[in-house]
Symmetry: C2
Subunit: 329 residues, 2 copies
Amino acid sequence: MKKIINQPEHVVDEMLQGLVFMHGQLVERLDGYDVIVRKAEKRGKVGLISGGGSGHEPSHAGFVGRGMLSAAVCGAVFTSPTPDQILEAIKAADEGAGVFMVIKNYSGDIMNFEMAQELAEMEGIEVASVVVDDDIAVENSLYTQGRRGVAGTILVHKILGHAAETGKSLAEIKELADKLVPQIKTIGLALSGATVPEVGKPGFVLEEDEFEYGVGIHGEPGYKKEKLQPSKELAEELVAKLLQDFEATAGEKYGLLINGLGATPLMEQYVFANDVAQLLESKQIEVVYHKIGNYMTSIDMAGLSLTLIQLEDSSWLEALEATVETPAW
Amino acid sequence: MKKIINQPEHVVDEMLQGLVFMHGQLVERLDGYDVIVRKAEKRGKVGLISGGGSGHEPSHAGFVGRGMLSAAVCGAVFTSPTPDQILEAIKAADEGAGVFMVIKNYSGDIMNFEMAQELAEMEGIEVASVVVDDDIAVENSLYTQGRRGVAGTILVHKILGHAAETGKSLAEIKELADKLVPQIKTIGLALSGATVPEVGKPGFVLEEDEFEYGVGIHGEPGYKKEKLQPSKELAEELVAKLLQDFEATAGEKYGLLINGLGATPLMEQYVFANDVAQLLESKQIEVVYHKIGNYMTSIDMAGLSLTLIQLEDSSWLEALEATVETPAW
C-alpha cells in the first residue's frame, strides 16, 4: 500500500484535523467527536446533517457550511458512523426548528441514523430524514437493500441546503426531499479498486485491460466486467441506462454531474463529458446544469460516475446555482 | 494504459470540448484553436493569459474567468503550445490596455511565448510577462534552465488576476509580478509516474515501496528516492526545505497551498495538511491563507506538492481571497 498517511488507524482523526486546519474559517470539529460543524451563526432554521463512512472525501464534511450542511458525521473508513456520533451532530445542528438527516442507502447507516433520531427525539429535538438511493446499477448490494446511495447525494445536500437556508420548515423539507430523491439517478464504472488504509490492499482487483460497470463506492460488485473500451462506448452504456431508468423523452431538462472516484484525472473526466454531451444532444435532452470533479470518491479508486437530475422544477435549478460557503462545493 | 479516453491523439481536443460543455456559462473556445477564453465582457483592462502543455488540469483553462485569466493556451500533453496559438490567446485577451503573460519556466514555453509576444507587438498589442520558477527541488532540469514552474503558478494567476480586475496598468502588473514570484516556493514528491496518453506507459516507474522527492510535473527527476515513510516525515522534509529557502523566521505570515498531482485522494492530502500544520505551528509560522486540492496536476501521477507564499503584503492576501468566476479556483 502506497499512501501518504501515518498509522492507518489514525487516518480519519488526522484527516479531520487537517480539514479543520485548511478550512477553519468555515468549519470546526466537535470536541471529542468525528463531527464537522459549520461556524455560521445559528438563526432558528432547520438543521441539515449527513454523513457516513469516511473515504468519500470531500463528502460529506466538504459540504458543511452556510447554504448546505449544518454538520457531517464521519465514520471510520467505509464504516457507518455510530449513533452517539450522529446524535452529537443532530444536537450541534439544532437551531430550534428541527433537524433533517440525509442518509445514503446502506443498512448500517439507516440503522444508526434512526437510532440517533430516537435518542434526539427523547431530548426534544424534532428529526426527519430521507434515504438517498440514486445508484441504478444494481438492486440490493453487499450492504444495501434496494439501490445504493452514491454521488447524487451531494445534489440532495445542495437543494435541501438551499431550502433550509431560505427558511423552509422541517415538514416542507421532508416533502421536498421525498419528491427530489426519485429524480436523481447515478451509474458508475471502475478501472481499479480502492485500498482501505487499515486493510492495506485493494478491495477488488481488475485485470490490466478490464473495467467494471456499476461498482459501488465501497467496491461493491457491479453488473458487468468488460475489456476496456473507448470513452464514447462507456458513455453510451451509462447514458442509455440512465435515460431508460428515467423514461426520459426529448425536450426534457436535466442537470448533469460527472464525478471522479478519486484517482481519475480531470483530463479523463472532461473527455468523458464531451462524449456524454454529444449523446444527450442527440437524444434532445437539454442540460441546464453542469458539475464535474471529485465529489463522492472511493478513496483512490479509478473510475467515475454519471448522475442526472431531472430539473423540470425551476426552483431546483435555482437551488443548485445558489452561492454557498463550504470547503468543497 | 487504463484511461477513459478515445484515440490518444484526440485527448486535448476532446477535453477542451468537454470543458466548454461543462463550463459554457464562463468560458468558450476560440474557433479552430486550443485556446479557452472567458466570456466576461471586455472593459478596457489588462488581459492576463497563461498556458503550457496540457496534462495539468485544471491548470490553466480552469482558471479562466472573471478575476483571473482572460485566456489559457493548451498545448499538446506535456508540450509547449505553439506561437500561433499563443498569439491568438493574446489577441483574444486584448482589451486595449495590453496583455500580461504568466509563463512557467520551461525553455520551450519561454521561447514560444516570447515569439508570440513579438508577433503581437507587430500587431500593435503591448505585451509584458513574468516567468514563474517556484519549484525549489532542483536547479536546472530536463526542460528547464534554473528552477521549474509548478503549482505556485496558480497563486500568480490569482493575485495578478485581481490586479487586472481592479484596473492596474500593464506596468503596475509587471512590477507586482516581479515582486510576487520570488515570494512563492514549491516542493513536491511523487509516489508514481504519469502516463501520457500518446506514450501509453508511465514516464518513470518507482518500486512498490518507493517514492521520490522533487519530481517535476512532467516527471522530471527529483533529488532523492527513498522507501516510503509516514506522512509526518514527508512533511518534515518538504517544510524544512521551503523554510530554509525562504530563510523564514518565527512570526512571519504565509499562505499555504497543498496540491494533489492527480491520483492522490483528498484523504491523504488532509492527513498531510495536518502534519504540515503542526510543523509550521512549531516554527511559529502563521498561516493566513489555505488552499487544498488538485490544481496543478501531472495527469494521473500520485503525489502532492507543498507551496508557501510569503504574505507580508496584506494586499496579496486580499487578492487571494477575492471572489472570482472560474471553473476551478
